[in-house]
Amino acid sequence: MGKTHVKLTVNGREVEGLAEPRTLLIHFLRDELELTGPHIGCDTSHCGACTVDLNGKSIKSCTIFAVQASGAEITTIEGISGADGTLHALQDAFKEHHGLQCGFCTPGMITRAYRLLQDNPNPSEEEIRFGISGNLCRCTGYQNIVKAIQTAARELSAPKEAAE
């Protein structure tokens, strides 16, 4: 049972490596690629802390083998801020609205919210709650997470100010 070749585009960068077929994507990202943003919260497909974007869809990276993802484009929390480190509107809004306390759920929560806003730029409160229902937070009570996502949605869909 040899290792298999895994090739991914992660945060815009092509990466290749060898992995045992049983290596879960979350372990490949964290241990091989040293992208420790996506967290392992439950390891049972429930909490969403391991959420990454795979070919334009949110998935739980603890419930897919790295080889199954081979060939895919992946975005992790590390790929969401600007290349120069500027925070994404969602990251800013989470900070402003206290959308995090311990921060453990935050990478998954923001990565999920990022995709939610791509799919639905103007979600209602109910749509936000349904959209993040696969992400558990033990600290905030969700209220401020919802507020942060609403703020980021407004920010992102506001017409850009005409540059003088």
Binding site: M1, T4, E20, P21, R22, T23, L24, H27, D43, T44, S45, H46, G48, T51, K57, S58, I59, K60, T63, I64, F65, V67, Q68, R112, L116, F130, G131, S133, G134
Partner: protein, 288 residues
């Protein structure tokens, strides 16, 4: 939790997949979305030596109409099912059910084929397929065959699928325009399987129920097609007495496990409530 070791295969066609399954026999397992299988592999409840990943097989994808039947490829994910305009128009119970399965991430990965082939009594789609009188298209080393959803489930995790066979698509005769439908599911929280759930498809004709089809999720070893309960509705105005008779007949065939979702009696009681609500909702949606 890291699953045991296995070799990985990614065939590009159904015939290649069947070849691999034949070569490795009972040590091989198909993986589609992996959202039932990988959790079981983590717990060593499944320990395949070979995984045959069917994700690249084009024949298993997409939703189409074929001679009046709706044909849903095994690889259609729950998210794709929810997004399908054809299904929303012709068979809306599928969308209603898919929206009650797990959460967005799980629905992006989980496939309809995996959901109905898995054989877990907790899966929601099998009862819906029984209510719709769906048939499953199956391909194997000896050619293709079809099995009705109502005949497919034998016991928990035991189905009519034989080693080496692949479920390729699901075939549904679209219910008549104006039909009533509902999938009512009681669960403790998002991401939980049903305490009990009921699927109903019915037709009304000038105030009288002209056909009805009812099935139950997670209150037995298999999904349960509730023939007597369905029959109790036909020819009635779906009045309180008729609904009461159907509820009693449905509760009669349940045999739920006592688990963290509650003791047997409670789950049977909840099944009755789900049946009642599903019939009432379906009635309110039926036109004619």
């Amino acid at each position: 939790m890291i699953p045991g070791q296995f070799d990985y295969h990614r065939p590009a066609s159904v015939s290649q997949a069947i070849g691999l399954l034949a070569e490795f026999g009972e040590n091989a397992r198909i993986v589609a979305g992996g959202h039932s299988l990988i959790p079981m592999m983590k717990l060593r409840m499944a320990t395949p030596d070979h995984l045959v990943d069917i994700q690249d097989i084009p024949e298993l994808k997409g939703v189409r109409e074929d001679a009046g039947a709706l044909v849903i490829g095994a690889l259609v994910t729950q998210t794709e099912l929810i997004a399908s305009e054809l299904l929303a128009e012709k068979c809306p119970i599928l969308r209603e059910t898919a929206l009650q399965i797990a959460d967005p991430q799980v629905r992006n990965a989980g496939t309809i084929g995996g959901n109905v082939a898995n054989g877990d009594p907790g899966n929601d789609m099998p009862a819906v397929m029984q209510a719709l009188a769906a048939t499953y298209d199956i391909a194997g080393p000896n050619g293709a065959r079809q099995v009705a959803a109502r005949d497919f489930y034998e016991a928990a995790f035991l189905t009519a699928l034989k080693d080496g066979e692949i479920l390729t698509s699901i075939r549904i005769a679209a219910p008549a325009a104006g039909h009533g439908y509902a999938y009512q599911k009681q669960k403790r929280k998002i991401g939980d399987y049903a305490t009990a759930a009921a699927a109903v498809i019915l037709e009304m004709s000038v105030g009288t129920c002209s056909s009805a089809s009812l099935a139950l999720t997670n209150v037995g070893d298999t999904p349960l097609y509730a023939a007597a309960a369905s029959q109790a509705l036909v020819g009635t105005a779906l009045d309180e007495t008729a609904i009461g008779n159907a509820v009693a007949a449905a509760k009669d065939i349940t045999d739920p496990a006592a688990d963290s979702r509650g003791p047997k009696d409670f789950r049977t009681y909840v099944a009755g409530v789900m049946v009642k609500r599903a019939i009432e909702t379906a009635r309110s949606r039926a036109t004619a």
